[in-house]
């Protein structure tokens, strides 16, 4: 063999089966490594500081090897250049194989070998022989009945016959190979063309999918977000009812869940997140009647709230409530966050909470108590104490969703030069994940009733509103429109999906063709002494049995061969 020119050498390499097998083995091994070795999270990639921190966190697992693993890219394997080269080589080798096989396969389909040497009838792996007179017309009829294409060539005292069936089935293996290329192509298309955009929407609000000016702009409106929970608080399902708008017109209304996204114009809208605690607040300028502020605020922070039970001297419960703490109190050196509580009969108490290393202490203040500090009782969580004829139990500490809103509108006359101020909003009497549905309040709250929004920072007293209620401060009216839920919607478009489906279809089609309709070719040599048959078909086709049956159909008496004995 002479020296190969570089293009020929490359072609030889790419069409070499051993090279292809080695390539696939390496690809499998590397992919397995990519599954077993943790990969840099998406939100860390590209940020050198975060990547360095993440690598530090891996040192406990990989020790001194961490730097080496990082250097060869195994922590970000599927994005390395060499992995892309491996994929490209696999695609090239598969493509080269298909190209190299095409002429041969085409020739075998359109111009099959119709005559084989006589010796082949004695050596063919699949063959049959029969003695006695043969009815060629019976044989031809039988073959055509089985949808074979038949050609007969008389030659002196011998007649040769060639028949084949499912000749196009030979393309099946090429389809399967083509599927590999389409799969790799789909990965490339996905990398180049895929679009993804996260939206975080409150009920009733709308957000655009693209930056402003995009001619394909879509807007997503969250009509309703719904969370469903098991009795133990575990989430069962999240669902969002969406309306999709394009060019100002509603073009679709649909429900989206985690596994069943809503689709429009090639874009899919997946349910990606859920958050149950939002409050929609409206502020109206009473002087003009105009709304000056209407927002749905996510109450993402948590404020400690003690659940307190108070009974009077007769044993009657006069308070059983999770308290929303609104004031900063100081008693001696300690600072408490507390609130004023009015008991039936008008008796006033101040109850405060102080965070400690072990949890939180509850203090009950009443003027004249505690030797100057005003503290009548100091209780740890779960404790009960008595003072002033009241039996106070600090049942448990719970949390209230809260938010500090920096630019909440205060009435212009509330304080000179302070139209926008900081307000604290707390949403009480709501339960997350401890009931079967996310709407409304939960059975864990003994008081029941609707959610309550407490707003502090607008005046000397906190404002407590139930849904639909409003309160006036100066010339502004503040209205709590209701509790609102939020949904995270992931908008995705990946046109490589079509290619993945096409590749999957090619694989299935290729395998079905290969296994269900294997190509059969048979050659027959018919003489006055009998008939010899030789055939080619995949092993699973059991072609030998068919050949014997054909010989019998032709009227000859089968001759048992050594292969038949073994069978």
């Amino acid at each position: 063999m002479g020296l190969l020119t570089p293009p020929r050498a490359l072609w030889w390499l790419l069409t070499n089966v051993r090279f292809a097998m080695a390539l696939l083995a390496v690809l499998c091994g590397v992919s397995l490594a990519g599954v077993l070795i943790p990969q840099v999270p998406l939100n860390v990639r590209g940020d050198s500081a975060m990547e360095a921190n993440w690598l530090d966190s891996q040192e406990g697992r990989f020790g001194l090897l961490t730097a080496a693993i990082d250097r060869i890219g195994l922590f970000d394997l599927f994005h390395t250049g060499w992995f892309a080269v491996l994929l490209a080589l696999t695609a090239a080798a598969t493509g080269a194989y298909i190209l190299s096989r095409c002429p041969g396969v085409w020739l075998a389909i359109t111009r099959p070998r119709k005559r084989v040497p006589d010796g082949y009838f004695d050596n063919a792996p699949v063959r049959a022989q029969a003695e006695g007179p043969v009815s060629l017309s019976n044989l031809v009829r039988t073959l055509r009945g089985k949808r074979y294409r038949v050609e007969v060539t008389p030659e002196d005292a011998v007649t040769y016959l060639f028949a084949d069936r499912f000749q196009w089935a030979q393309l099946g293996s090429l389809l399967t190979h083509a599927a590999v290329i389409v799969f790799i192509l789909s990965a490339v298309v996905s990398k180049v063309d895929a679009f993804e955009s996260p939206l975080f929407l409150a009920e009733g609000t709308t957000l655009p999918v693209f930056p402003v000016r995009n001619p394909e702009q879509l807007q997503v409106q969250l009509l309703d977000a719904h969370g469903e929970f098991a009795a133990d608080g575990q989430p069962l399902d999240y669902r969002s009812d969406l309306a999709i708008y394009r060019n100002g017109e509603e073009v679709k209304r649909c429900s989206s869940t985690v596994n069943s996204p809503c689709s429009y114009a090639g874009y899919r809208f997946y349910q990606a997140a859920y958050y149950g605690f939002g409050a929609e607040v409206q502020v109206r300028d009473l002087a003009t009647g105009n709304v000056v502020y209407q927002e749905t605020l996510a109450l993402a922070a948590r404020q400690s709230s003690p659940h307190v039970v108070i009974a009077n001297s007769a044993g009657q419960t006069v308070l059983d409530q999770t308290l929303v703490l609104t004031e900063e109190l100081s008693a001696g050196d300690a600072t408490y966050r507390g609130t004023l509580v009015t008991l039936p009969g008008g008796r006033l108490l101040t109850i405060g909470l102080r965070q400690t290393q072990d949890g939180a202490d509850l203090a009950v203040f009443e003027p004249g108590s505690g030797g100057g500090t005003g503290i009548a009782l100091l209780l740890a969580e779960g404790q009960t104490g008595e003072a002033g004829g009241l039996r106070v139990t600090y049942a448990r500490q719970s949390m209230t969703p809260a938010a500090d809103v920096a630019d909440f509108p205060s009435p212009p006359e509330a304080a000179a030069g302070r139209a926008l101020g900081e307000a604290k909003l707390q949403l009480s009497n709501v339960v997350y994940g401890t009931e079967r549905a996310s709407e409304g309040n939960g059975p864990a709250e003994p008081a029941g009733g609707p959610p309550r929004l407490t707003i502090t920072g607008l005046g000397p007293k906190p404002m407590v509103l139930e849904p639909g209620q409003s309160a006036t401060v100066g010339s502004y009216e503040y209205k709590f429109l209701g509790q609102r839920e939020f949904a995270g919607i992931q908008v995705k478009r990946d046109r490589s999906d079509y290619l993945v489906w096409a590749a999957a279809a090619l694989i299935v089609l290729g395998l079905m063709v290969t296994f269900w309709v294997p190509r059969r070719r048979l050659w027959a040599r018919i003489s006055s002494n009998g008939i010899s048959l030789a055939g080619q078909a995949p092993a699973h086709a059991d072609f030998a049995r068919e050949l014997r049956s054909l010989a019998a159909e032709a009227g000859a008496r089968p001759v048992l061969t050594a292969e038949d004995d073994r069978a």
Partner: protein, 238 residues
């Protein structure tokens, strides 16, 4: 010998390729071609179908239009830039009918691009409402161009907030594109002669007292910019 006669019995069809029937052609070529064409057509339909442009009752297309020649010198720059003539447009109006920017020539115009989903737009809107109430008798026109939203969303928003000025609907974003918006809100201050005197990107939310809202502007900034365009035509150059 019976066998020797067999080849002659086979008839003309044996050993020759049968004539290709129309049915075979359909199965081999036409059907697969139709299936492929149907799949390609479905993909194209899903991916590229677009809603058509919209037109006013007289058949004029909504979107950017040429500035009438009588309203600008032949060599004048018509660009969304400070000092240039404001590009003209025709848009559908929220209330009814349509609105064309050049129809307001002779009036100072505050052209505000906004959307209900844009939080800064929502925050600055009360100030525009106030300013319009104060200056509308002096001829100030406030034209709010909503970007790519529909009337069903804008209507309740505008009504609640007392937006009694013209609201135009740029449904496909072409006018926003002509004005090269970088984001919302963006406000163009256009004088009586149609020249853009200033452009403000971001919320025109006045800083007051101890508020530390990012992007807030100095007190009186909106008033100052409005005063610039209220001057009589020809009193100030670009």
């Amino acid at each position: 010998m019976a066998n020797s006669a067999e080849p002659r019995d086979l008839g003309a069809g044996v050993g020759t390729r049968p004539a290709r029937s129309p049915r075979s052609f359909f199965r081999r070529w036409l059907l697969p071609a139709l299936v492929i064409a149907a799949i390609a057509g479905a993909i194209w339909f899903l991916e590229y179908r677009q809603d058509g442009a919209s037109y006013d009752p007289s058949g004029r297309r909504y979107g950017p239009v040429d500035l009438p020649a009588s309203l600008a010198p032949a060599d004048a720059a018509v660009e969304a830039e400070q000092g240039d003539f404001a590009p003209d447009f025709l848009l559908e109006q929220l209330s009814a009918g349509q609105v064309q920017l050049s129809d307001f020539r002779g009036h100072p115009v505050v052209l505000n691009f906004w959307a209900t989903w844009c939080a800064p737009c929502r925050k600055e809107m009360p100030q525009f409402v106030d300013a319009y109430q104060r200056y509308k008798t002096d001829g100030l026109v406030l034209l709010a161009v909503d970007m790519q939203e529909g009337a069903s969303i804008i209507q309740p928003f505008a009504q609640e907030r007392g937006m009694n000025f013209p609201i135009a609907l740029d449904r496909d974003g072409e006018v926003g594109d002509e004005y090269r918006l970088l984001g919302l809100p963006t406000t163009f201050f256009i004088d009586r002669g149609g020249l853009i005197r200033s452009v403000f990107t971001g919320p025109l939310e006045e800083r007051t007292g101890d508020t530390n809202v990012q992007g807030a502007i100095e007190p009186g900034e909106l008033e100052k910019r409005i005063a610039e365009i209220m001057t009589p035509a020809g009193a100030a150059g670009p």
